[in-house]
């Protein structure tokens, strides 16, 4: 009996003093509940799949990567607390959040501790605040919107537009960028309809837009709001082109809106339906793994994981500050770094450049209408 107790005690002590397995920690702070859950779940799954593949191929600097997950609840204050918790838990880089209203708050914590953060947010203000530790995984709407506006004017001949947008940090960013570009193009905005976050009933909004004399409507909401908007637009028989930036024509929106999504158009930085072999293969692996079609957020998360691997290995150590410095002005070519899927560059503000796509939803699928060059 005594011998058994001693051996058990020895085993416990041995386990207690055993050296920790070499492991790099990444913080995944993401919207897993609340209004951003659709986007956040995609981004999280992309990050997870990216790091699982990286670990299967030997990890980063021959060390395995552990992804610590934190739910921001789509609440800026919770997201801030979660970033702090991740840093306290010893992460050397952060992925997320997707919602801009959260990112503008929580990125200040990462900046304070000098931790590089790969965000899925697209509000222009994110990279305009001089934060050297924030990096996009898809370019901001101030870069996407000009491409889309050029296409609307040159290819669709739009002369007057209406705008429906979410009155949040995300929505304000897209709205401001769109209004500025329309002013530059000399195209009047004949109706401007803001909506609240997670708004459920869009009947009044759609009615105002429908009765306006706009040639086309720019729609800038999150996924679930976009789906509700499209269903209402279909119900009211709106016959104007509905054009969005990224979210309106996303896969989650198509799933939620069903047939009502057909005919919606928009600009996307990334699309699983682009005819790019590396992207197509990634999408197939994702579908097999998670049993649903990824949207652009999943691709953002996936490329964030691989970008971190490449840059960490360029620096030669998980040195957070050195990684952030290295990323500024960096270009990764997909031919040399296949995990980024498409050629990509970051400037001194953390903003990124990449080719993008103008798509139309037909029979529940994004169909690429044009490939738009980087700007």
């Amino acid at each position: 009996m005594i011998r058994r107790l001693l051996s058990t005690a020895a085993l416990v002590m041995a386990l207690g003093v055993a050296p920790a397995l070499a492991e790099l920690k990444i913080g995944s702070i993401i919207e897993l509940s609340g209004a951003g859950a659709a986007a956040g779940t995609n981004f999280r799954d992309g990050v997870k799949m990216g790091f699982e593949e990286i670990n299967a191929q030997g990890g980063i600097l021959k060390e395995q990567v552990s992804v610590l997950e934190y739910d921001s609840q789509t609440d800026p204050q919770v997201s801030r607390a979660m970033v702090q918790k991740a840093i306290d838990d010893g992460v050397y880089a952060i992925t997320g959040t997707v919602f801009s209203s959260s990112t503008v708050v929580n990125m200040l914590v990462a900046k304070q501790y000098g931790i590089p953060q790969f965000t899925g947010s697209e509000a222009p203000s994110i990279t305009a605040k001089g934060n050297p530790y924030i990096f996009r995984t898809a370019f901001g709407s101030q870069k996407g919107v000009p491409k889309m506006v050029k296409y609307m004017v040159d290819n669709m001949g739009v002369k007057k537009v209406g705008v429906a947008w979410a009155n949040t940090e995300f929505g304000k960013g897209g709205h401001q960028a769109f209004v500025a570009e329309m002013e530059k193009a000399g195209i009047p905005i004949v109706i401007d309809v803001p909506a609240e976050q997670a708004q459920a009933d869009f009947s009044a909004d759609v009615l105002k837009l429908k009765n306006s004399d706009a040639d086309a409507i720019f729609v800038y909401f999150t996924e679930e709001e976009s789906a509700r908007f499209l269903r209402e637009a279909r119900k009211q028989g709106i016959d104007k082109p509905l054009i969005g930036e990224t979210t309106l024509i996303g896969h989650k929106v198509i799933e939620l809106a069903g047939d009502a999504a057909n005919g919606a158009m928009g600009h996307v930085g990334l699309t699983p339906d682009a005819n790019i072999p590396a992207l197509t293969e990634m999408v197939e692996r994702f579908k097999t793994k998670y049993n649903y079609t990824p949207d652009h957020n999943a691709i953002k998360g996936y490329t964030a994981a691989w970008t971190l691997k490449y840059v960490t290995e360029m620096v030669g150590s998980p040195d957070s500050k050195a990684i952030a410095e290295k990323l500024h002005g960096l270009t990764l070519k997909a031919s040399e770094y296949p995990g980024v899927l498409m050629d990509v560059s970051w400037d001194e503000t953390g903003e990124m450049s990449r080719e993008s796509f103008f798509v139309k939803v037909e029979n529940g699928k994004q169909v690429v209408q044009a490939i738009l060059p980087p700007n």
Binding site: A38, D201, S203, L207, R234
Partner: protein
């Protein structure tokens, strides 16, 4: 004019669904002095029963809706009464209110845990056809939602006023002691009330989920709107809850179009404040005194 017609139709269609949930508030209040703060979640949950029927069990839509109705009657009707209301009621209204708040959180978090945090597409039960009426686009879905809600509430009124069981339920609500002396099985009548509330919640859920999408957090908005509708109309009158629901639906749409889309959510609250200040019993409610 066309715009106004369309606003009224959309507002009435949405308002009639709020009214279904609001009637539940008044029914439970009258039958057992229960203010059910989980009412919004009661409307959220049946949509997930339907989805489970369709996606997990592979049942057709209408069979899934019937399954959802049965499950709602059992869980939101019988189990709610037996496991929460009956044990808590002897301790007074406040503990029961807190218990229903806790129940609402439990239902919401359970759906999030077991079904996921993201919204789910919910099949439309009515055709998506749109007709042009005097220049306004009027959808079949809106008209059907309005008709079904009105039929449900009208049927309930007829049941309560024209049938022996309905009158026994009213007697039990007005004075349970006297009703019992007169031979009414009060406990059974109260159970009927809970079952009717569960059935109304299921109808509201099936009607509103194609518009709202099925999501664990839908109850937050629906519960609040229905509660405001019940107070505005009169917490102790079914027809009050009906009027309150319709009024909120129409005011919400009118204010979004003609006043401000940004401040639309404030309008029902302003109406609530005005009603509480000017007519605390609600538009159609009757003053109710209670001994303290």
């Amino acid at each position: 004019m066309a715009e106004l017609i369309q606003i009224l139709v959309s507002g009435l269609a949405a308002g009639s669904i709020y009214a279904l949930a609001a009637v539940g508030f008044t029914l439970l209040w009258q039958a057992s002095q229960t203010i059910n703060f989980a009412q919004g979640e009661f409307v959220m949950l049946p949509a997930f029963f339907v989805l489970i029927g369709m996606t997990v069990l592979g049942l057709p839509m209408w069979t899934s809706i019937l399954l959802a109705l049965v499950l709602s009657l059992l869980i939101l009707g019988v189990a709610f009464k037996r496991l929460i209301v009956e044990p808590m009621l002897p301790h007074g209204t406040l503990p029961l209110v807190i218990a229903t708040i806790a129940l609402g959180l439990l239902l919401k978090e359970s759906v999030k845990e077991f079904y996921g945090a993201t919204a789910q597409p919910f099949p439309a039960i009515f055709p998506q056809t749109v007709y042009n009426v005097a220049g306004a686009s009027v959808s079949v879905q809106d008209i059907c939602n309005l008709v079904v809600s009105m039929l449900a509430i009208g049927g309930l009124q007829l049941f309560l006023n024209r049938t022996r069981t309905g009158r026994c339920m009213q007697a039990s609500a007005q004075n349970p002691a006297v009703a019992e002396i007169l031979g009414v099985n009060v406990k059974r009548m109260v159970l009927y009330t809970f079952l009717i509330n569960a059935a109304l919640a299921t109808i509201a859920s099936v009607l509103i989920s194609p518009i709202y999408l099925a999501k664990f957090s839908n109850g937050e908005t629906l519960g609040l709107v229905a509660f405001i509708a019940a107070i505005v109309g009169g917490f102790n009158q079914i027809r009050g809850a009906l009027v309150g629901g319709l009024l909120i639906g129409v005011i919400d749409n009118l204010s979004a179009v003609y006043i401000s889309a940004q401040y639309r959510a404030a309008m029902p609250l302003l109406l609530l404040i005005a009603i509480i200040l000017l007519r605390p019993q609600g538009l159609l409610g009757t003053p109710e005194g209670r001994t303290v």
